[in-house]
């Protein structure tokens, strides 16, 4: 999907990048990274769906992934 594309474009420009997806798109994301030459690039996976959660719930599930996100973006 397009957010994977954008992530790869940042990486190509020397900018460490992460992408947040929901679990419904996990396999597609894995495929997309491979097909763009970044096989194995990690992503942050949130439970699906997001669209029917309250803002508070979205914040909560996101915060649970912050440390994992920071690890993906640092050495």
């Amino acid at each position: 999907m397009c957010s994977v594309h954008d992530t790869v474009e940042f990486e190509k420009r020397g900018i460490p990048a992460a992408v947040i997806i929901t679990e419904a798109f996990a396999r597609a994301a894995t495929f997309q990274f491979r097909s763009k030459g970044m096989e194995g690039h990690p992503y942050i996976e949130l439970p699906h769906p997001i669209s029917n959660l309250t803002a508070g719930q979205i914040r909560e599930v996101t915060l649970r992934q912050i440390d994992a996100l920071a690890r993906q973006l640092t050495a």
Binding site: M1, C2, S3, V4, H5, D6, T7, V8, E9, F10, E11, K12, R13, G14, I15, P16, A17, A18, V19, I20, I21, T22, A24, F25, A28, A29, R34, S35, K36, G37, M38, E39, H41, Y43, L46, I50, S51, L53, A55, I58, R59, T62, L63, I66, L69, A70, L73, T74, A75
Partner: protein, 95 residues
């Protein structure tokens, strides 16, 4: 290529490998670029991430950019513009 008496047109992409960008030791002082693809929830996710990376990891600040449409790739101009301003990027919401 004809093998076994017929053609196998199976396509498998052989992509040139893209090496990941070098990661910094920490996010302290870094400007975080947040790319919002306008899908429902993406803005809340990115706001949460921006705030948390500043508060907990010492990032300098976070900037949010919206894409035109979630289903399209970001215009190169948006990416180039962000790349000039940020040291770290997060894109949401995939799919």
């Amino acid at each position: 290529m004809e093998i076994k008496g017929f053609i196998d047109p199976t396509f498998s992409a052989v992509q040139a490998k893209v090496p990941p960008a070098r990661r910094p030791a920490s996010l302290a002082g870094k400007v975080i670029g947040l790319l919002d693809n306008t899908k429902e929830g993406a803005d809340i996710i990115l706001q949460t991430i921006g705030d948390a990376l500043v508060e907990r990891y010492g990032a300098a600040r976070a900037v949010i950019r919206k894409k035109e449409m979630f289903s399209k790739v970001a215009a190169p101009e948006i990416i180039n513009e962000m790349a000039g301003e940020v040291q770290i990027a997060v894109a949401a919401l995939g799919g």
